[in-house]
Symmetry: C2
Subunit: 318 residues, 2 copies
């Protein structure tokens, strides 16, 4: 199979070729030269899609809520993509069947694209792949991308937290609110959803969350709303989406959207620089000169600082 | 106050000046140029002390056991130092009063030196500071250094796990054995101690541990012994120290001690190289050129990969 050319694949994806889109996302996910080629080809082809991060503890019903939100977006006439972020999974794009089952009702809808993304520990990881994937989906004509995370690990909170709007999903019960607080979710949340609100205690949980939020300083004039919803029945889901639209309007009315995207760009560049520096650190530490220097350190003939300096000098040599 | 000169301080510490020793350890702990100066001056002044890492869950009685082991070493006529590793603590060398209280019985013994070490997120952190501190204590005439960790966080397991002999302390009860397994302690343990063995269930816990160990592959011909002890009464503590001596004899009889120290030297050098690379990544990402490039990325005029490449090229420029 000839090596795929990103520019051609991007053209095909823009014309609606879903196989080309899937292939591009695999390249992004793989990282390295492939991701880089896609990133370069895709840039400048328009502003990024608006991203909504959806995070919360496992079992909170994020997947069902995401599916319900996809329904709302579609009824309003927009195309929408879902990236399910799972840093711990060894499976990824290949898990298409799982995705279809997960969001079966949208399986035949050409205006919906669903994809799982994992990482294999490559350069920069998901935190680099996810924005790149959003860019590809933008080019392919999806103005909305929902970034759904599977857990609440550090990477997932990071990825979801860097969306334009970050939604945190909890369930009725004090525990979830406290957990959300502990996991650092209070700081990143723009919209709170108490899902499974048909269960007892939903109002109390919403009240507790509002109380916690009232104690925090509102960021740039936005007080995160707390909404109750039951994703399985669709109850309250329109209102959840309306909260996202309100938040977007707020970001656009202030300079906050531009500021957030600038901050994200800075983090993305820093992350790539850091990842490359770490690659170089690994490379010089694995070389023949490193083995000699380490032997000297182990023998007590050389201090580790001097050894490190020599290796760093070696790295600078052209 | 004039800047302390490491070479002079080292001479004083060798002559028994405890204030000079404390000052050197503070320099090591601070990291950066100070640590580097000490590291350079101290190198080549003899082989490192033999280190015993003592780790286990909070409340397992590590501190009491360490104090009891200090008593055993002293009765055998050797000088011994204790480094209490607490990565989470904002306090460190300053907490001398706390250390004295903790190990009060050794407070007036000139053959014992006790010191807490924390990290303030500096270059390389505790994983770099701890070996450097051991080196200083070696120069000051302590042939034994006990590295006691406060918790079982990743850094602490790492520090304790890189000792010559690593001791894992658990308490009677199945939970502790399972936790030890989960925290990755089974892989690093050379000696197991079931402390508080006067409580019910000690024998069962020892049996469970032996069973778990039997399932694991013994590393380089050493089967970690499991000992019962009651540190508060001293019961079994002599036997624990004997197990350390046995393990040391095993390491010295095989080539394993040399191999372990070589591995540790390699890790130390790699860690320093990595830390410096990360510093450089931060530096180039914070510069004026970086701000321009990030703005271009945020505007969609430039892809992040190209921006990263430019910053990396800038870093290479002399």
């Amino acid at each position: 199979m000839p090596r795929p050319r990103p520019a051609e694949l991007l053209d095909a994806a823009r014309a609606g070729d879903r196989a080309a889109l899937a292939r591009l996302l695999s390249m992004v996910e793989r990282g390295g030269e492939d991701a880089r080629a896609v990133g370069r080809a895709g840039h400048g082809l328009g502003r990024d899609a608006y991203t909504v991060g959806i995070t919360g503890a496992p079992g909170a019903g994020k997947s069902t809520l995401t599916s319900a939100l996809v329904g709302v977006v579609r009824r309003r006439g927009d195309r929408v993509a879902v990236l399910a972020i799972d840093p711990s999974s060894p499976f990824s794009g290949g898990a298409i069947l799982g995705d279809r089952v997960r969001m079966g009702e949208h399986a035949l809808d050409e205006g919906v694209f669903i994809r799982s993304m994992a990482t294999r520990g490559h350069l920069g990881g998901l935190a680099v792949s996810a924005p790149e994937a959003v860019r590809v989906l933008t080019v392919a004509g999806f103005p909305w991308v929902l970034l759904e995370t599977v857990g609440v690990g550090q990477v997932e909170v990071e990825v979801a937290g860097h969306a334009d709007t970050t939604m945190v999903v909890v369930n009725p019960g004090w525990g979830d609110a406290v957990q959300a607080n502990k996991a650092g979710l209070m700081e990143v949340a723009d919209v709170f959803v108490v899902n499974k609100a048909d269960r007892p205690g939903a109002d109390e949980t919403a009240r507790d969350l509002r109380r916690m939020l009232a104690m925090a300083q509102p960021r740039s004039g936005w007080q995160p709303p707390v909404l109750c919803a039951t994703a399985t029945t669709g109850e309250g889901v329109e209102e959840v989406w309306q909260a996202v639209l309100d938040h977007r309007a707020h970001l656009e009315a202030t300079s906050e959207l531009v500021e957030r995207r600038r901050r994200r760009a800075a983090e993305e560049v820093t992350r790539l620089v850091t990842a490359r520096m770490l690659e170089r650190a690994r490379a010089v530490s694995a070389g023949a000169r490193a083995a000699e220097l380490v032997a000297a350190v182990a023998e007590g003939d050389l201090d580790p600082w001097t050894a490190a300096d020599e290796l760093l000098a070696e790295d600078r040599r052209p």
